[in-house]
């Protein structure tokens, strides 16, 4: 098992918002999973439907230094050795929603019916045995892609994957990549 995990370190997640068509196939696929209690851990939202049809698709970005885990008073959120930030430990989570407030990407959601924070774990049960995350396998437009950096570079010569985000003075480095115009090095949010 250990060897399989190491060999899959080369596969990465690439998200391209401009390709999102808002079909929500990813949400439906995610919600089929019993691990999540049939709740979708990926979120598709309109940016501003009155003015544009643009949607965004948000998976957990799996931060190097996850704010959600840092602000958790119950130490319920952990990042494992493969860089995956997991859903709150159900025995520890106190449902305070600190993580919900703190995440710069809006990923963790408190599921009131379970009194538990739940979030995307990049389908760790699948990716750890060499399978792709469910959402990436069903996306019809290529907004979600799971593969190697070499593959994405060959397929999309006009885009560059970025995993450094600047929120004011806060710098967040992530495991998941966002596709940006060619030559970009970071995404700045003011």
């Amino acid at each position: 098992m250990r060897e399989e995990n190491v060999s899959n370190v080369n596969m990465e997640f690439f998200v391209d918002m401009q390709r999102c068509i808002g079909c929500k196939a990813c949400e439906m696929a995610c919600a089929e999973c019993e691990t999540n209690g049939h709740e979708s851990m990926i979120h598709v939202n309109y940016v501003d439907r009155a003015h544009t049809i643009q949607t965004t698709v948000q998976v957990c970005m799996h931060c190097e230094d996850p704010v959600c885990a840092n602000v958790c008073p119950a130490d319920a959120i952990s990042k494992d050795e493969f860089g995956i930030v997991h859903t709150a430990n159900s025995e520890r989570c106190i449902g305070c929603s600190n993580c919900v407030q703190a995440c710069p990407f809006g990923v963790p959601k408190k599921q009131e019916s379970y009194d538990l924070m739940m979030k995307c774990n990049m389908c760790f049960d699948r990716t750890s045995i060499g399978k792709k995350p469910m959402c990436a396998t069903v996306c019809p437009s290529g907004a979600l892609y799971f593969g190697t950096r070499e593959e994405i570079a060959e397929m999309r010569p006009n885009s560059t994957p970025v995993k450094r985000f600047v929120f004011g003075e806060e710098i967040v480095n992530t495991k998941v990549n966002l596709m940006m115009p060619k030559g970009s090095t970071e995404l700045k949010v003011f």
């Binding site: 401009q18 068509i21 079909c23 009155a50 003015h51 049809i53 019809p140 290529g142 397929m155 006009n158």
Partner: protein, 570 residues
């Protein structure tokens, strides 16, 4: 029936998309006309992006900023019902600037001069007036299209569901033929079919003027061949029948008194649903075969529980003309039977058991192979085994050693009587109903991604209902202001045929003179209460995509969508 099919037969003598989608990959210019690909054929999106990643220019023609149009290089926001004016003006421009493939036109086509003459008045300025698209945009589209080395043109119901749907289709084909970009790598043209097996069904007899292999039911040779395959007398074959909407009209006239339908929900899917309902009530005897009790089946004297695709083995033919194997995954529940076994049992009760002696679904397919042999849609060389081994096979495939035909017309041998591709004149004419003082707004209809056709399957799935619970009236803020309509206010939308109540969704992403309502819902939520039954004279397809309506705000805001009646059983 099918405007794309009729248009393709006129131009090419054969009804199939000319290319498989891998020809999109290196197309320099892609035109997507009247096709909300992202919501109605989402898997096509990644092919279009593959081309865009290699620098392709994307031109989207649609009255709304559909998801694909949002990032397109050029969005032509055509006024519904004026598509042929746009194509005519583009053809005229290609001629003026001599962006034509004269070798191809001279050697492999006919009808060019008449077709060009029919649009000589279609100047860019004139087209701007008619279509509402800035002439600079039309010119840009024609320039890109004219100068491209490779290209792909795709269209769907947005240009086909019109009283001049066939004109719109041949208008598109004229642009393809004028530039000679067909039958070559990365040079393509295709209609995008609207449902699973939308292609396969119409090749072998779903249409009332056909026999298997896309043969003509009025052609004596074709009749003789099929009669021999089926072991019957040629005189026992019926003649040309009526298309779906003509059947409804014939019921009204008292000429049809009995009806058998299979997977058909015309109360939701056909225009002018009040008129359709009256017809259903006039029937003396009606049998509906369906997997769920849909709204139309409630009018039936007898309902036979049929099967879903997952419950039966067979084949489907994709929009690309690729024949694909479908395997049975589960048995039909309870007393439900497979659709095939219902049809076989009916045949037996009607005294024709000896003509329907199939051991299994493969035996039926093998008969189809023989019946289609020599027709334009020739399946003879396609077997269950070859389909599985090749991940699908493209027709025409006339022999067991034939590899199939992913790309048509490489040999330049078109299936028309003279062997040439035909230009067909398609000068602009107005839609069946235009706006006036009483009905001042253009209404167009379409689909949303979470619902499928008349919703018989998808309106029963909670998460899909939750995604878009009720039909909304999409309206531009300027038009909403003019009529004093607030966001989510209930609006009475009326036409000469009926009226319905729809909450307003005020968005910048639609033309200022047009409103849009998706059609998947029944009863008071049905957009087809409003649409007209005006038919295309050739294809007999109704004009779902354009009519004139009146908007009256009702003074109250609709409850949140999650409290919609859509979640309740009707």
């Amino acid at each position: 029936m099918v405007s794309a099919g009729a248009g393709n037969k006129k131009a090419f003598g054969l009804d199939r998309g000319s290319n498989n989608y891998s020809d999109l990959e290196y197309a320099e210019v892609i035109i997507v006309a009247g096709a909300n690909v992202s919501e109605t054929f989402p898997t096509l999106t990644h092919w279009i992006w593959k081309a865009r990643d290699r620098g392709a220019k994307l031109i989207v023609i649609d009255p709304r900023v559909i998801p694909l149009a949002r990032t397109a290089d050029l969005h032509l926001d055509v006024k519904p019902g004026t598509d042929s004016a746009l194509y005519g003006a583009m053809l005229n421009y290609l001629h003026e600037k001599d962006l034509l493939d004269h070798d191809f036109i001279n050697n492999h086509t006919s009808g060019f001069e008449e077709t060009l003459a029919a649009v000589k008045t279609h100047t860019l300025s004139w087209a701007e007036q008619v279509t509402g698209i800035q002439k600079e945009k039309i010119q840009q589209a024609a320039e890109w299209w004219g100068k491209a080395k490779t290209s792909f043109l795709l269209h769907a119901r947005g240009i086909e569901h019109h009283s001049k749907g066939v004109d719109n289709v041949v208008g598109c084909i004229n642009l393809v033929l004028a530039t000679g970009r067909i039958g070559k790598p990365y040079c393509g043209y295709a209609t995008i079919t609207g449902q699973g097996n939308g292609q396969g069904g119409r090749e072998h007899g779903h249409k009332c003027d056909q026999l298997p292999g896309n043969r003509d039911i009025t052609n004596p040779e074709h009749r003789k061949y099929i009669a021999d395959v089926w072991g019957i007398e040629e005189k026992d074959l019926p003649g040309k029948g009526l298309s779906a909407y003509e059947i409804i009209e014939a019921i009204h006239r008292g000429e049809i008194k009995g009806l058998l339908t299979i997977c058909f929900n015309p109360l939701v899917s056909l225009p002018n649903s009040n008129y359709v309902r009256e017809a259903l009530e006039k029937l003396e005897y009606y049998v509906a075969i369906d997997f769920f009790l849909n709204e139309t089946a409630r009018h039936a004297d007898l309902v036979l529980a049929g099967s879903l695709q997952e419950e039966e083995e067979g084949t489907t033919t994709s929009a690309e003309g690729r024949v694909i194997k479908i395997n049975k995954a589960i048995d039909p529940p309870g007393d439900a039977k497979t659709d095939t076994s219902i049809i076989l049992e009916l045949a037996s009760r009607l005294g024709a058991k000896d003509k329907f002696t199939y051991e299994n679904s493969e035996a039926i397919f093998n008969e189809l192979r023989v019946a289609s042999k020599g027709g334009t849609a020739d399946y003879y060389g396609i077997t269950y085994q070859r389909i599985v081994e090749n991940m699908g096979m493209f027709w025409p495939c006339p022999s067991l050693d034939h590899p199939g035909t992913p790309r048509l017309w490489e040999d330049r041998k078109f299936k028309t009587p003279d062997g040439k591709a035909h230009f067909n004149p398609a000068p602009y004419r107005p839609p069946g109903e235009v706006t006036d003082n009483e009905y001042p707004v253009v209404l167009t209809t379409g689909r949303v991604v979470s619902q499928y056709l008349s919703g018989t399957q998808t309106r029963r799935i909670g998460k899909l209902v939750g995604q878009y619970p009720e039909p909304q009236l999409e309206i531009h803020p300027e038009l909403a202001l003019k009529f004093g309509i607030e966001q989510r206010e209930v609006v009475k939308v009326s036409t000469r045929r009926g009226e319905g109540l729809f909450p307003a969704n005020i968005v910048d992403t639609i033309r200022k003179d047009t409103v849009f309502i998706p059609y998947h819902w029944p009863g008071k939520l049905s957009a087809n209460l409003l649409t007209p039954g005006t038919l295309d004279p050739v294809s007999k397809i109704p004009e779902f995509k354009v009519c004139a309506c009146k908007l009256e705000p009702q003074g109250h805001i609709a409850p949140p969508a999650e409290k919609s009646s859509a979640f309740k059983s009707s």
